[in-house]
Symmetry: C2
Subunit: 446 residues, 2 copies
């Protein structure tokens, strides 16, 4: 049974609804959000606990957010805004439409406005674009007991209490103490004696994916962001890093699917918006692909003597494209995870020559058997020709798929541009030449 | 300059090397690991701080781990083992080769053996397969001050101190208190009064990706894992969740690249191992693709009257495949992130009909211009025929790419099986029929 049927939102008095809602996992409500009527959505929103309100709003699409904001009373909306973390608030303000933004901005507290303006200075894709300016900082020279009592007072106002940052008089970061270290230290020891001065940090302009990798390597809950003079600007917490990793995943997937940029919210996107993300690559690949007409056009005289070669063309190019994408996917992923380096190129190439040969022989054998024994069925010589030509195309495609990302990476570009669709288009054109030339040679046609 | 040239590992006395190494970020050492000679690797390993040793070992490939283990003295290796978190230790033991495993097992402490045996009971892909049994648990009824003093004593032995779990006499989870809540509460209040009884948890058999989503929704640092009777088995921490998300990313990428299973470590994989991961899909797609020979074979009589149709075949199937993968990528990703639901199918379909028509018209126009004006060049009627047929193929492919993942998801299967390579193979076969039929109709051939 769906949540909306279980809930009977309209018929339940607000106080009772509050109790019921506080017992349902928020994830379930988010999951089924679009099954509710707009009236029920509003009733749920109003009766959720405050921090769930914030989480719910953050997880809705932009259109849904705006719809909900418009129906909320100013007071309860302001309450939600005041509860949002500064980094989430900044993202939120950047994502909503200019009309809604004006109203949101006016209702912010002076403190929130100041924080937001500070955060808006930084590039979204940099470490500083992810950070919150609310962290626990203490001056050097205090004792553990003093620091602990400070933590207990400040705990409710910061995003994470799990690291305490020790600053000098110029806001420069001297060291970091984890709450765990603070708890296990003697009350009267000095914070300077227990702090980690060889701390891990990122620069404000460190790329967000690089920031993610750093946090991951050290299993940190938060990482400090410093400017050129080591001044502490803010901290990036693990939850924002998880979002970065998810975003990266989505971007990579779209690239592999042959799309430019990011389709943030499919259901919110306009038809023209979707076309704009998809048609450029489609046209580029189409234009590249038309080179194949020049290749095939060149071989049309063969139609009279070896028509079967044209019949097998689609399956040959398809298989070539597939073996090429397999190889390039492995390389691109290996480069991204840092497991493969350009310096391994010869080792990899030798391996892929062997892999390509084996796969060529196997697929060649398969197509010989298939085309000889099953309809439409071709003669044995013809089947052999197709098989041998396919083997060469598979070997060639595997090597192109291997080398292209490695070389693109070596000259300093992002190897993901060599995505599967581009790979198969390039391979189609070159693969067809190999196919026809091998076939001509084997059939003794000049 | 590379790290190995800066370091002069061989010429530096151990004590000095220790100091130098403790000041270099571990991430840099890991990044350049394979530029060191085996002797230098060993010297680095021996002189790293103990927790860096553990992190380094965890981040190496299996072959590298085994190589390093063999060269380490038994004593320093045992020291590393004793420092590993139980969940990492279990993963490590599962990954190493049986010969090495025997030695590792014998050198474990009785406590570590017990913990490992406990964790080995669970499926790697379930929540319980990720958890650590080292968490902070207290009995109900104690005060905040008592709990805090307990935390301060136990802090060094658990993986995270940031949540305290309150258990009853049967180890069942009654509630959770975050360290932050504990710190801000009054010393003499009872833990039962401040604990969250409506806590978020997962079942031991919850799938790891589901577990990741739950932790993310609530921005938790750790999530408790319960059995059927609500007994607390362990906790899953955010760093393991980040690994799950990365792993999922890699798996999805490989699926899109047309590979089965996971290529864990490219450089460690044998040639035959790589072929085994790649050749099955290649052969399946090849066999599916050979249906196109039946289609094209059926139209060979057209070679005499409309040879140009065969010349354009590769670019038509390629473009059809690309528009199909774009649509299916959007659907698969939308379903995975929870943004698209099967119930939106009609809304999506209407949108994609419009998108497919627009993209069909645009690509059609492009190929008409390209094939009319540029070599090899075809007549205007021929160009129009190709353009119109391509428009239909693009529309058709877009709709197949949209519907296939949604329907596969609706009947309860994983839509990622409908990956780009499978999509373009299916579309090739059907698209060629559309292409030739439209062309025949327009050229008035019966």
């Amino acid at each position: 049974m769906e949540l909306k049927d279980k809930l009977n939102i309209e018929g339940t008095p607000p106080e009772e609804l509050k109790t019921i809602l506080s017992e349902i996992p928020l994830a379930d409500i988010i999951e089924e959000w679009d099954t509710f009527t707009p009236e029920d959505e509003l009733r749920i929103m109003i009766n959720l606990p405050l921090d769930d309100k914030v989480d719910l709003l953050n997880s809705l699409s932009i259109t849904e957010q705006e719809k909900l904001i418009e129906s909320l009373s100013e007071q309860s909306f302001n309450q939600i805004l005041s509860e949002m973390d500064p980094d989430d608030l900044t993202d939120f303000i950047q994502s909503i439409s200019p009309e809604v933004r004006k109203g949101v901005w006016d209702s912010l507290s002076d403190e929130a406005k100041k924080e937001t303006l500070f955060l808006l200075r930084f590039d979204e894709d940099d470490a500083a674009g992810l950070m919150t300016p609310r962290y626990l900082a203490v001056r050097a020279g205090i004792t553990v007991a003093q620091a602990l009592s400070f933590v207990r007072k400040g705990a409710s106002e910061v995003e994470t209490v799990y690291y305490i940052y020790i600053l000098d008089d110029f806001q420069r970061l001297l060291g970091v103490v984890s709450l765990r270290q603070l708890l296990t230290a003697e009350d009267n020891s000095l914070i300077n004696d227990i702090m980690e001065t060889n701390y891990v940090s990122v620069h404000e302009e460190t790329d967000q994916e690089e920031t993610a990798k750093t946090l991951e390597t050290y299993d940190l809950i938060a990482i400090p962001v410093l400017d050129d003079r080591n001044k502490l600007l803010g901290i990036v917490t693990f939850d924002d890093i998880i979002d970065v990793i998810r975003e990266e995943h989505t971007e990579d997937t779209y690239k592999m699917g042959g799309m430019t940029g990011n389709v943030d919210r499919y259901l919110d996107s306009s038809i023209w918006g979707l076309v704009k993300k998809r048609v450029p690559w489609l046209v580029i690949l189409l234009l590249l692909g038309t080179f194949s007409t020049n290749i095939v056009g060149h071989y049309t005289p063969l139609m009279a003597t070896a028509a079967f070669l044209f019949v097998f063309m689609p399956v040959i190019t398809q298989t070539g494209g597939n073996s090429g994408s397999q190889a390039s996917t492995l390389m691109i992923r290996g480069l991204a995870t840092g497991e493969i380096h350009t310096r391994d190129i010869f080792k990899i190439l030798l391996k892929e020559i062997a892999v390509g040969l084996l796969m060529g022989v196997i697929t060649g054998a398969v197509i010989i058997a298939r085309s000889y024994f099953l309809p439409p069925g071709v003669g044995f010589t013809q089947a052999l020709t197709i098989g041998a030509a396919l083997a060469f195309v598979v070997l060639f495609s595997t090597l192109v798929g291997t080398l292209a990302p490695l070389l693109i990476n070596a000259i300093g570009f992002d190897p993901t541009v060599m995505s599967a669709p581009l790979m198969s288009t390039v391979i189609d054109v070159a693969g067809l030449t190999i196919y026809f030339e091998i076939a001509k040679f084997l059939l003794n046609i000049h």
